[in-house]
Amino acid sequence: MWKKLPSPGWLAFGTVVSAGASGIAYDKYQQSQTRSLYMAHVEKGATSPLESNLKPRKLIVLVAPPPNDYLDTSLTLWRRWIKPILYSSGLDYEIVTGNKQGEIRSEVASRIRQLRKDLISQEQDQTEEKSWSWSSWFKSGRNTAAQETAVEEEQAKPSPFDIRSVLGVFYHNEPKPVILEDSLVDPSVAGGVICVGRGAYKEYIAGIHEGILGPLEEPSKVVAAASAAPAETVSSGTVDSETLVGQTPLGTSVEASPVEASPVEVVPVETTAAEAAPAEAAPAEAAPAEAAADEDSSEKKKDVPVPKAYILPSEYSNASIPAELSKPLIIDPKTGAPAFFEQPLLVVAVPNLSGFTTIPTRISRFYQKRFLCEQVSHSTLAAVESKSRPFTTTDLDLGAYEELDWPKSWVETGKERGSEWVQPLQGDDRVLHRLRVVEPALVPSIQPETTKENDEFNTEKK
């Protein structure tokens, strides 16, 4: 009967191929099982009813590419393991991507500066309402009654043509004000921030400090750097500022050189919610001179530098917390929810090895992705359930093990150029004590336990 078998060579070939293929198949099967398990666990969130004037809880997801690699690598991890759980839990998310170093930082910092401006204008409105004096009342006292009726008459006059008065939905229903769910729940469980990648986390922390401790207006050195004469494009390839997924690998950016191309880039922001889409995609930051405007049209397709930080980490201790951010809990005036930096933070590291000598490690990692999937899914579940704790200084090392994967040559080039990602992460306690961190250890594992008692084949009975 042994003559029916193929030759030893073919047998060896078949063994190797089928072992390889079955390893991949098993790993993928386990990943999909894990995914289905976690999705089924959080399903009730998505199928719970929501009133038409409420908006669900919203997360911000910051995605940065791993060093020397494409944004797609991080986005694949996000799409395969994190996004399904978020979708099944019914909460909304907004994605901020950065192709180059510093993009996420500048986006985060600009949002905080915008928040500060909103808070300042809110306080000004409140003080204007309060500043009411007897003299002003006496001056307008006689005429208030006549003025009020005149104003009322003007308001009572029908506007020339309002579609909402004849269109079906609003004909009978008064439009209710839109409320965010985040504004109704306890602040420690509202919203959330997910950083996919150690680089994204570093830029997030840097961005928060820049926004809170830094100045509101552009300091002169940033303006000078932005309006300097255009230099040759440095990074590899051309970057279309409109593309959302990077077409070029992340190189170390030349932050130290003072001479850079002029116009400030439109940060590629991918949003999935209604109100964010038009506002954020539109305006570029104000480039100072007309020279910038002239070059803008010709350089739209070329590399545009990331705006420099308004404040450096070494200056954090000298800076002071601004008055508008001195309250213990900061509520965003536009949404009514806590500011995004007060929301629980989750850091998901993106392990990504490259190189020739690392091939055995890469092969073993490739066949063991299911464990990484389980870990990432568990962390995401903790983020969905908002199991968080206050930030401690050791949390600056969240996801630091990803830096072990970073290519040495890339890190060394970065250190020479003074790039952002290779700097040790510095934080100021005054800012960091506001943060909250998602703690996966607070969430028990939902994988089915196979204990010795349940195991049918176990002969040792206790």
Binding site: A46, L50, G90, F161, L167
Partner: protein, 89 residues
């Protein structure tokens, strides 16, 4: 529209027809929007009378994308019109 600098003077009849046309446009867009987003977003099983969170966010996104598409297509059409017949617009 008339190629002149100032706003065109419309008498009440023209204003009325302009308003009617605008109403038609908006109603048409609204109906199409509701149909499309209902087909795409709302599950046909109808277990519950209220919208759940997924459907709610789906509808939000659907409306946002519809309007953005509308605006972009409109801009492109305008540019096409200007490119081919600069005199007409």
């Amino acid at each position: 529209m008339f190629g002149l600098g100032g706003q065109p003077q419309l008498n009440s009849q023209q204003k009325l027809s302009a308003a009617e046309a605008e109403l038609d446009l908006v109603t048409d867009m609204f109906n199409k929007l509701v149909d499309n987003c209902h087909k795409k977003c709302i599950e046909q099983s109808y277990n519950d009378g209220q919208l759940n969170k997924n459907e709610s966010t789906c509808v939000d996104r659907c409306v946002a994308k519809y309007f953005e598409t509308n605006v972009k297509v409109g801009e492109n059409m305008q540019q096409l019109g200007q490119a081919f017949s600069p005199g007409k617009f």
